[in-house]
Assembly symmetry: C2
Homo-oligomer: 464 residues x 2
């Protein structure tokens, strides 16, 4: 079971609401979600992956699954909004029990952790499985290699958890590391569906009742070959917003811990992400075009702008199409508070300008009074919905590939260097029937250009 949500607000401006941490690419080009699925996929005895996420991320999950030459069997549970880990885990356990297999062992993995040592991971999972099969609730403790104050700790005696402790201050963290009995709380768990449901019945019945009621009115259907359970919004809202640590782990007196021997990085900030990259002689890590003069120990990441840096040390510079971050490495954790302020203000930079869609993506290149310009990329074989706009017209110029355009009753092709015009109220559809990516430049014109001016009549991605 993979928990694939969360904002990843500390990795703004690369992470955004619809592009959270699990989808951020690591130095090798793979996303954390892909790596998590790859890790789970090869576990012996795997019956399938179950992901808990939300609708906005569904097609991105599908894209990540499609990267596997043989995609693992996967189901998804779609939350209408995040309610922390307890309701998500209960929903997954109930779905598994409903499929008639409550003895099935669940391995709960956050989708945004990096673990490189596959062998040690498999070894720890095997140890956890043995305990889970005996009915135990199992957590994974990571041997701390420095006194991190940003994590919770587990005090253990052998395989037995003595207590969970909150993020310590620096002095306490040093004691913990020195003692040898304290482990980082990794947020990974292992248990049978039956055991965890029984624990909820005993320690936190409100969550169990609310999620059970929610599932009774929620629907499960096929979404392009992926079984998707869409949790009902009104009833899910009644589930308490609580973590599994608070709901169960800290209340139960019988939690087991596997001391994990693998490396582990929760990519909790730009500072921890940049440590994964190799540095040049001046300690700098550069991604994109940068020109430096007397610069040391800086991480500079730019999508397409040139970054000039002069006389600076220990900075994080992260440049994206619409937002720029300049932070001192020692303050990397505080990026979250910036993000929260932007989110409170409902600022547009909480979203990326490039918006993924099941059929491809669109990027807003420029907006001005009465017009908006988009680059629209349609994947081979993909199709936008049959749609109509009340208030805007659209001018399309094909710059790569071949477009199949439906206007009213007519369907025709538009090739590179050709254009067509969609008037307001005209039913239309854009398809890519070819084998290469279709790119069109769309100039929208009208007094209202909001994304919500759309009426869909038919959609192969069931978005009606």
């Amino acid at each position: 079971m993979i928990l694939c949500g969360g904002a990843g607000s500390r990795l703004w401006p690369v992470s955004r609401e619809q592009h959270p941490k699990p989808f951020i690419k690591m130095p090798d080009g793979q996303s954390l979600l892909y790596k998590t699925m790859a890790r789970g996929k090869d576990l012996p005895g795997l019956s399938g992956l179950m992901l808990v996420s939300n609708y906005e991320l569904l097609f991105k999950i599908k894209d990540e699954l499609n990267l596997f030459s043989s995609p693992p069997a996967a189901r998804v549970i779609l939350e209408p909004f995040g309610r922390n880990t307890a309701p998500a885990i209960v929903a997954a356990a109930l779905r598994i029990a409903a499929m008639g297999s409550s003895e099935e062992i669940m391995l709960v993995l956050p989708a945004d952790h990096l673990i490189n040592d596959e062998q040690a991971f498999h070894h720890a999972c095997k140890e956890a499985r043995v305990l889970a099969e005996k009915g135990r609730l199992v957590t994974f403790g990571i041997k701390p290699h420095y006194p991190e104050t940003g994590y919770g700790y587990i005090e253990a005696s052998g395989q037995r958890v003595m207590r969970f402790v909150e993020k310590p201050n620096s002095a306490v963290a040093q004691q913990y590391v020195a003692s040898g009995n304290f482990f980082w709380n990794s947020g990974m768990f292992c248990f049978s569906a039956r055991s965890i449901l029984e624990a909820f019945a005993k320690h936190c019945p409100e969550v169990l009742a609310a999620v059970r009621a929610c599932l009774e009115v929620s629907s499960t259907s096929d979404w392009l070959g992926l079984e998707a359970t869409t949790l009902d919004s009104d009833s899910f809202a009644l589930a308490p917003d609580i973590s599994i640590d608070y709901a169960i782990m800290e209340k139960s007196s019988d939690i087991a811990m596997v001391a994990a021997a693998f490396d582990w990085n929760d990519i909790g900030s730009w500072e921890s992400l940049c440590r994964l990259y190799s540095s040049d002689d001046n300690g700098n890590q550069l991604h994109g075009q940068a020109v430096l003069h007397n610069v040391h120990n800086c991480y500079i990441r730019s999508e397409d702008r040139v970054v000039g840096a002069v006389g600076v040390d220990d900075l994080l510079v992260v440049d994206t199409a619409d937002a720029l971050l300049v932070a001192h490495k020692s303050a990397a954790q505080d990026v979250k508070s910036l993000y929260m302020r932007l989110k409170e203000a409902k600022h547009s930079v909480c979203q990326h300008r490039r918006t993924g869609r099941p059929w491809g993506a669109y990027t807003v290149l420029e907006e001005g009074p009465g017009f908006k310009i988009k680059r629209i990329e349609v994947n081979p074989g993909a199709s936008l919905s049959l749609q109509r706009h009340a208030k805007r017209s659209e001018h399309w110029v094909v710059v790569a590939g071949v477009a199949t355009v439906t206007k009213g009753e007519d369907t025709f092709t538009v090739r590179v260097n050709e254009s067509t015009y969609i008037s307001p109220q005209q039913k239309h559809r854009l398809q890519n029937a070819g084998n290469e990516l279709l790119t069109i430049i769309e100039v929208q014109s009208g007094s209202y250009l909001g994304e919500d001016d759309i009426e869909r009549f038919d959609d192969i991605y069931q978005r009606i």
Copy 2:
């Protein structure tokens, strides 16, 4: 006489090759060139302005002149490339002498200096004029108010220059300031055309001979009401690249100095520019959208991106469409070395993405394989040349104003939300016959999209 050239490389990325320091806007929205012209315009007895610049800046100068309700009489001399101040001043003096007025007093002002105290400026100019009318070569010394190491100094005894000295080190600069006899060399001068030409004949005859020969083969013509002398390239190349300080001032034993009582700022770096802006309680100066957390004493300037800053002090952050600068304030002078490296590499960010044209401007919004998107803004009454492209076609969508389009033999109007298509080899022209700004989005398509694929047949700005 206004010296309007120079790269302003220390103010990159706002200053660029075709948008140098004189055109950069000060906090009140006026450019340094405008301020310089305004300062000169009101001097008693002014017969006219003479600007030395280059062709690429000509229409920008014209735009600045047009900002005056009654534009001052102005002539321009266009250099094919910069040859430092001596040839520029000689060219101006020779033009003035050729107009039959070699007794005319020239006040030489760099276009990129900021002086706020108009009254003290007028007073100093009056004093200089009296000396110049007696045949003296006059320089302006600025009373130093701190031991700046970035300027040259003048040692004076009353109105008499004892010697010019190069940029001193910090200890020497402190002695200079303490002595009371040392002044900053402002780069402003005053003399009669005859006196300076005689001085060149005596101390630096090579420059005089080369520029005189150049003017003999150069042409003077009217450019939209502005008298423009275009210096011949081959012969101007023979003029030595030398400053008036080296050529004359340091060699002549009879230079007068006016001790200027006005404030003076050569805006030599971002650090000196940002000191003109007022700060908030944390010492920060913000222009554009910025979100800060624990940030002090920073200058953050952004055109349209959101800048998030965390835990940083004393930084200059200057963000433009295609380039970003992050510099420590103490290293502001070193921005020049970045710029020089970019220039050496002929990097595109030595130019702005928005390119001014006599008829308005165009901005490249995006370039990709086989296509380029521009926003084209045409001023009321303006017209692009009648032109033809061999290799590209152009799709135009009007998003503001009304376009008058000529295609082959036809001329017709294209209104907001209408579009038209120009095929390769088709003669065409875009005009704005209306009263409001015309904005079109142009999608170019073709295998070659260089700006040099243009053949001009008729141009109201004489660019054929």
